[in-house]
């Protein structure tokens, strides 16, 4: 077991001050254990992106406590000093669009992360190739992102999210641009990876097709979450 996954307690986020203030997250509690994939579902404007940004350490919560693994990241106004290094080492991101760097080939798009952390180029590329092989896009390793199909790009983006073996992966509508078959494939991959690398994964989604696959789902509405058991169906 790697650490304790994601754990947040009493997390709140307020945008702005005074009359115009928006309370986007209200006392959110959430736990995702290593190896688990949970869904985060809610209507537009409910606070999904805000929660994901707090979890991703790109915006600071107004109050509450957040832990990634054993490490306390936020605690009522206190925060870890180097959020940039935290993002690089502890959090993998998968976005709605793949957002691959267009001027790097697929391998280097993925190898860039370990390189940024100081891993030598060869080793970083070897790691990237391993993941590409696991995700079955190794045949596109030398291609440029623009030469890939949507599904291949998304798999490359998932490989990038995984390459530093982060204890946490945050996926923001990762299946939105994909047809149902490919969407299912992505969810299967995320579940495989969660199990294989003992990663805690949160998937924000609207996608009706994939919702039944989660064993646990957090619903969010007006900044308030409540937890629910999912169907936990297979991926076919």
């Amino acid at each position: 077991m790697r650490g304790k996954g994601i754990h947040i307690e009493g997390l709140s986020k307020r945008y702005g001050e005074g009359d115009t203030a928006v309370l986007a997250l209200k006392n959110v509690n959430m736990t995702v254990v290593p190896g688990e994939v949970v869904g985060l579902i809610g209507p537009s404007g409910s606070g999904k992106s805000t929660l994901l940004k707090c979890l991703g350490a790109v915006i600071d919560p107004t109050a509450g406590r957040m832990m990634l693994g054993d490490e306390v990241i936020y605690d009522d106004g206190w925060k870890v000093r180097d959020l940039r290094a935290l993002r690089r080492d502890k959090i993998g991101f998968v976005f709605q669009a793949p957002y691959l760097i267009p001027f790097l080939d697929v391998t280097d798009n993925i190898a860039l992360l370990p390189m940024l952390a100081g891993v030598p180029n060869n080793q970083a590329r070897t790691r990237a190739l391993e993941l590409l092989t696991a995700l079955d896009v190794q045949h596109r390793a030398k291609a440029m992102p623009s030469q890939l199909s949507g599904g291949e790009q998304q798999r490359a983006a998932i490989a990038r999210g995984l390459v530093n073996r982060p204890p946490v992966i945050l996926a923001d509508e990762p299946t939105a641009p994909l047809d149902s078959q490919r969407a299912m494939a992505v969810i299967r991959i995320l579940n495989d990876m969660a199990r294989r690398y003992q990663t805690a994964i949160i998937v924000v989604t609207h996608d009706e097709k994939i919702i039944p696959t989660f064993k646990r789902i957090y619903h969010i509405r007006d900044g308030v979450t409540h937890e629910e058991a999912g169907e936990g169906r297979g991926f076919d």
Partner: protein, 400 residues
Amino acid sequence: MISLAGRDILHAWGKFIFTGIGLGLLIGVTLTMAGVYRGMVADGKALLDNSGADLWIVQRDTLGPYAESSSVYDDLWRGVRAMPGVAAAANVTYLTMQVRHGQRDVRAMVVGIMAGNAGDPGWPPYLVAGRQITRGHYEAVADIATGFKLGDELKIRRNRYNVVGLTRRMVSSSGDPMVFIPLKDAQEAQFLKDNDAIWMQRRRTAANPAFNRPIVPGLLEAILDSQTTNNYVNAVLVRLARGYTSEEVAEPIRRWKRLTVYDRSQMEEILIGKLIATSAKQIGMFLAILAVVSAAIVAFIIYTLTMDKIREIAVLKLIGTRNRTIAKMIMQQALALGSIGFVVGKIAATFAAPHFPKYVLLMPADSIAGFFAVMLICVLASLVAIRLALKVDPAEAIGG
């Protein structure tokens, strides 16, 4: 770590090459402008070198003979030659004019030289074809930049001259090629009026009772004679004898002959410090404008390239790229653009320089200074884009 800037350039090489070429042409113009100034200085120095003189004796309190007009009597040189420390002294006249050859005319500086030998002050020091002037009249030695050939017939005022020799890099301080002719002819050319004017002047003189006195026979004829001869030259060129300093020789001439004397360094100061000073300022202004335009182009291009990458920069930041790494990427791209521009500019200037009508001298030192100026401009120009990139919020990578 891989070079992000390098990869981006390889990916968008077309954009970089074309912008680099555009910038390069601008840099080429800048280098050529600097070369034009260096050429003017070099022309001035060539004029002084080729005159073969160590001292220039000119009309008192003038900056002659090149920067201002000057006239001294043409018999002065004899007295000067007898003074201690003077190895050679020679009259010289300079007159910039259009020299006709058949149907076309060429702007040239007509130099009148005394009878003498090659190597005398004022004489062209070497020829590339033909021979020096040997007759007292109607022979000319022309710089090849005039386009004249041996045996060509030139027309200066009313007289015709036969080109007997050609020389090279004999130019005035403004870059006009020289045409050497005998001194007497040159004096006449400076003074010679057309027939109508001479006839008018004779009538006026004859009508003046002070000059036309029947009781003094020959007076009118003597006066008319003096009016049609020119006893002036523009300067006397002096070569020093071995072992004398220019001041040792110049001082007695100033005191006893009551004339102004310049040595080589003073003459250089007049040519470069005064005669071409305004042109130099003009060129300086152009260089400043070109620098600003180049900076604006680099800034604009790097800014738009960065604008196109906002999303990628947000992603890079989100996945933990340091601000320093992103700033380095943008600055390296600006420097790469500047380097392409400099290489293109240097090549363009080198190929264009010989085709300019005046001498363009590209000095390696100017190129090196230009390279560093381009690099500095690129660094400054990239700051705008870097500021933009540093302001990008990594949260932008996660949708709204």
